[in-house]
Symmetry: C2
Subunit: 356 residues, 2 copies
């Protein structure tokens, strides 16, 4: 059977002060009335029954996330004691799924991206499952809309098959976040997709790749797997997990796997990674302003005010981001949203954990 | 005897969102640990016993102000039902003082200015009282530190007398807020002072001038005076006061009075009229920043953050004012602080009184 696994363990430090250590990006209402996580679940509902939608996240994040999707069985939340990167998270989910459904296929999906065309997204998930059933490791690529240096890229090789509206390619190479020149060259060539971090594969197939390429992780997963469904599961997991090495699935598995395919897609995908990216997603008024919450402006242009209950008054403000939360405020030019991460780093250094 | 009258009826709309309709500028801690009003009282204490320090303010403002200066007798708060400008306020206080002390001298003082040299201020108050005792209307001028267009000016005429460190001049002319060119010419000439709105005169003398120049106001004051100390006082005042015409003491009395003198002073006087003026008063760090409350900055310069408990984080912010209060926030360039008044006007238009 076909299972969806939503990866919801990230924190999203670039969306501080809205995102916090106990209030991850996924749990926030950034676009529309539903949280990013709720939207990630909502769009899967036509294809997956709730009992086949799983979530892997960190223990501290799960109560808030679980409360947002009461339709999902709580047993479908697979909890990491601490975050260890995508490879261990996927491995942990895979051993859970293997126990439930040894012949299953899993779609590894994200909760921190906006997808404007959910029906087309489900179409490619359907198609990808057919290809994954043959033992291929399928990744969803995103047709680039700009020469972004913020994403990894996937180089397409030989075209393997054509599906309904999608082409399937062998993966030639995974490329880490490039410099501007390389990004421009890749995007102009038409042979590259952005790496979306979404994958479709058979559960047994990904566990075999982990066994082959990440034997230490596989051994650790096996210890956990032996305790599955037994009273000692939590004890074993909390003993094993701190010893697991941090690793991404791209670096740990995908770059050196065989039978890796990519399906470049145009599903209206947007990374909601920073305040700058919300400028692209949220509708602006004719002055280019996006005002969330009560605002009063004089001569203000191209400015995002992400407020809540308090009144935000701006005079002569241009190209800025103002984020107003209950206990912290951010004022930052639109172009420097990446530096929000440094604010979070400073808070950590200063041990000002109440604002983290 | 010598009485001090602190005028504390203004609201200070240019210091929104810190100043509000029920939280006037005078009642705020803007510079240091004491409110503007407390500082206005504090600096008078060496010269005036508490029973000779009176306050004229609006009824709605008095509970907060009275609570800030428990040493002043509550009966020294002279309350206007509504504000009518400085001429009626001074007239009202004068009839109260005439009843207490018919031969008294009063110093009309402000609560919304900062005075860096309070001892020198008291010295000029002492000297001015001597001159006022002869029946002169004395105004305190401020030696201009810049060609400001934000103040009225006083042109000095013939020099009348020299006191300890001060000169006394006849007033040639009161000049309303000038344009930039006129301001520069006046300041360069050395013959002009800023009009501080501080006056020293005999109580009977100012009432005579009001009688001569503002007969309607005098008639209204007489009605109130007849009820002084009687049970009907409040009723009479609340009937008469709404009919009183709005007027300033400068326009209503001073411009056409005789025996008007000016003492130009250098007492470290600063008008705390706008957020821009706080830049001059508050000590800045080496980047030119003034941070009140918890702040975290990256690449921030010449910026005033006037916060409270919440964290204010700034990235790449220059020459800005950020004022963070419990229920409202202002972001505005330093150079445009005067436009804060327009925000307050908009709130009134929109009937958003919770933020007024």
């Amino acid at each position: 059977m076909y299972h969806a696994l939503i990866m919801a363990g990230g924190s999203g430090t670039r969306l501080w002060p809205l995102s916090r250590s106990n209030r991850s990006k996924q749990s926030l209402k950034l676009v529309g009335d539903r949280t990013m996580f709720q939207q990630a679940v909502d769009r899967l509902m036509p294809l997956f029954p709730p009992e086949r939608i799983c979530v892997v996240t960190r223990e501290v994040q799960s109560p808030l996330l679980a409360s947002q999707v009461p339709d999902l069985p709580v047993t479908n939340f697979i909890l990491e004691p601490i975050g260890r990167g995508t490879a261990p998270a996927i491995g942990l989910a895979a051993i859970h799924l293997r126990q439930r459904d040894p012949g299953g296929i899993m779609a590894v999906l994200t909760a921190d991206h906006f997808i404007a065309q959910p029906e087309r997204f489900l179409q490619v998930l359907r198609d990808a499952a057919l290809i994954a059933a043959d033992g291929n490791l399928v990744t969803l690529g995103i047709k680039p809309s700009s020469a972004s240096t913020g994403f990894g890229y996937i180089q397409q090789g030989k075209r393997l098959a054509d599906l309904e509206g999608f082409h399937v390619f062998h993966v030639e190479k995974f490329i880490e976040k490039p410099d501007q020149e390389t990004a421009s060259r890749m995007v102009n060539s038409g042979d590259y997709s952005w790496n979306s971090g979404m994958f479709i594969w058979r559960v047994d197939r990904i566990l075999n790749e982990i066994e082959r390429q990440m034997p230490e992780l596989f051994e650790q997963l096996s210890q956990v797997e032996a305790s599955l469904g037994k009273p000692e599961y939590a004890t074993v997991l909390s003993r094993v997990w701190p010893q697991v090495t941090q690793q991404t699935i791209d670096y740990g598995v995908m770059e050196h796997a065989s039978d890796v395919l990519v399906i470049p897609t145009d599903i209206g995908w947007t990374d909601v990674g920073s305040w700058g990216s919300l400028f692209e997603l949220l509708p602006a008024d004719q002055e280019g302003n996006i005002f969330i919450g009560p605002c009063l402006e004089i001569d203000t242009h191209n400015t995002l005010v992400f407020g809540d209950k308090r009144l935000v008054a701006t005079i002569g403000v241009q190209d800025m981001v103002i984020v107003d939360t209950e206990d912290a405020l951010l004022v930052c030019p639109k172009s420097r949203g990446q530096e929000v991460r440094e604010i979070v780093e400073k808070l950590k250094e200063n041990k000002q954990s109440k604002w983290l």
